[in-house]
Amino acid sequence: MIASLSIAQRRNGLAFALCLALLGLLMAAAAQHGPMVVHGAMALVLGIALTGALARAVYDPPPEAARASFYYDDPTRFGIAMTLIWAVVAMGVGVWVAALLYWPEATPAVPWTSFGRLRPVHTTGVIFGFGGNALIATSFYVLQRTSRARLADELSPWIVLLGFNLFCLWAVTGYLMGITQSKEYAEAEWYADLWLVVIWVVYFVLYIRTLARRAEPHIYVANWYYLAFILVVAILHIINNLALPVSFAGAKSVTIWSGVQDAMVQWWYGHNAVAFFLTAGFLGMLYYFLPVRSGRPIWSYRLSILSFWGITFFYIWVGSHHLHYTALPYWVQTLGMTFSIMLLVPSWASAGNAIATLNGAWHKVRDDATLRFMFVAAVFYGLSTFEGSFLAIRPVNSLSHYTDWTVGHVHSGTLGWVAMIVFGAIYTLVPQLSGRDQMAWPRAIEWHFWLAVTGTLVYVVSMWNAGITQGLMWRSYGPSGTLTYSFLQSLQAMAPYYLLRTIGGGMFLAGTLLCALNCSATARAATGEVAASDRPLLPMPVE
C-alpha cells in the first residue's frame, strides 16, 4: 500500500494522517464523555497508526516509474476484502436479529444486544459496509479499464476507502452505544455525516480527474451509472442529514426538518438511497461485468442510455409512495405513485437488456456459476422492480404497508439483485487481480450459487406469506364491525415464517462465508502476474 505511493504522496498522506489523529483527539477531548469520546479515540488510533506507517516509509526508495504503465488495483483489492468482511459481519447480525424475532427470549440482558440497536447495524453494515465498499472497489477497477487510464493519483483512493470505512465503523458502533438520528438508512450522527461528505467529495474529484485522463473517446455507460451514484448520493445525504448539533461536544443533534416535511425528505432520501446507492452503481457493475464475463457486447447500448435517463429522472420523484395514507398531501402521494409505475419502463428495459445480452451465451450461463450469479441478479432486478411499482399503488400499499411484505421486497432486491451482482463481479475480479485463471476453489462457487439462490427464495417467499397474512388479518372485521384478530394473534401467526426467514438468511450467510474463504485462498495463491493486455493505453506521468 505505502510502497506504491510517491515520496510527495507519502508526505501528503502523513499530513492527512496527522490531521485525522488531531481531529480524533479534539473530538475526544471536547466531548469528555459518551460515545463521541469512543469515536474520537477510534479516529486517533487510526490516525496514529497511519502516521507511524507513513513516517517510517518517507525515506524508503520511491516506487518504480514503470508503475504508470499498469492499472492501480491495490485499492480494489483492499476494497473487496472490506466488502467481504462487512458482508460476513452484517449478514451475520441480520441472521441473529432474524433469530431474535423467532426467539425473542434469547435477547441477552445487555443494552447493546437489543433488537433496536442491532437492526441498524445490519442495515448500515450491509448497505454501506458491504454495498458501499463493493461499489467503490469495482468503480476504481471499471473506471480504469473503460478509460484505459491509471487512477489519477495513488493517495486519494486510500483516503476514500479508509475514510469511508471509518464512517461505517463510527455508524455501527454508535448504534451499539445507543446513539442514532432515527432516520432510516441515515442513522449515523452529525459528525459522521460531515466526515462522509468530505470523503465523498474526494471520491467524486478522483473519479472526474481519472475520467479526464481517459484514452477512450466515449465514456462507457457503466461510468455514467457510477457517477450518478456518487453525485446523487452526495445530494441526498447532505439534504436529509441537515441537522443542528445540540452541542459541538456531543453526538446528539436535531434535524432541521419538522413534521411531514421531515417524513417527505427522509423518504425522498430513503427511496433514492435504493435508487442511487442500491441500483445505479450496481447497474454500472452489471453493464461492465456481464458483457465482459459473457464475452458479448450489451444487447442494445442505445437502450442502456435511454434507460439511464429514465431511471435517473423517474426515481427522484417516487419517495412519497412510502407515505401513502399519511398526513402528506394526497396529490404528493399520487405523484409518487404515478412515477413509481412509470419507473417500471426503464427498469425493465435495463433488466431485459441484460438478459438479451446473454442470448447466444446460454451455454456459458449453464456452465459458469459466476455468469449465473449475474443472470440471476438481472432476473431479480426485474422481479423486484416490478414488485416495487406494484406495491407503490395506493390500494395495494394499504394491504402491504407495515407488513413483512415490505421486508420481503427489500430482500428480493438486496439479496437477489445487489448481492448476486456483487458476487458475480467478485468472482470475475478476484482471480484476475491475483494473476490466476480461476478462483482457488472453483467448486465452491457452485455451492455458493445454490446456497444464495435457495436462501433468497426461502427468505422472500416466507416474507411474502408473512406480509400478506399480516395484512389480511389486520383488515378482517367481524359482523359487528370489530377486528377479528388482535395484533398479538397476527404476531403469533408469524412464527413459522420467521423461522423460515432465519433459515433462508442462514443459507445466504453460509454462501457468503464460502465466498470470503474462497477469495482469501485465491489471494494467498496470487502469482502477481499481470496480463500484458491488462494495461492502460497511454501511460501518463503520475501527478
Binding site: T146, H218, Y301, W309, L429
Partner: protein, 58 residues
C-alpha cells in the same frame, strides 16, 4: 404558490418538459448517425486488450 397553481404547472409545463426531455434523450440515443459510435463503445470493453484472464471457458 397555491396547490392549484402547482397542479396547473405540473399538468402543462411539467408534462411538456418531460416529453421534450424524452425526445431529446431518444434522439441522442437513436440518431442513425450515432449508431456506429455506440456499437464501438459497446465493444470497447471486450477488445482483446482488456478482456480478463479469468474469463469463462466455453
Amino acid at each position: 404558490m397555491t396547490h392549484d397553481t402547482l397542479v396547473y404547472l405540473a399538468k402543462t409545463f411539467g408534462l411538456f418538459w418531460m416529453m421534450a426531455f424524452f425526445v431529446i434523450v431518444a434522439a441522442i440515443a437513436y440518431l442513425p448517425s450515432r449508431k456506429a459510435g455506440y456499437e464501438r463503445a459497446a465493444r470497447s470493453i471486450l477488445a482483446p486488450d482488456t478482456s480478463p484472464k479469468g474469463g469463462p471457458r466455453s
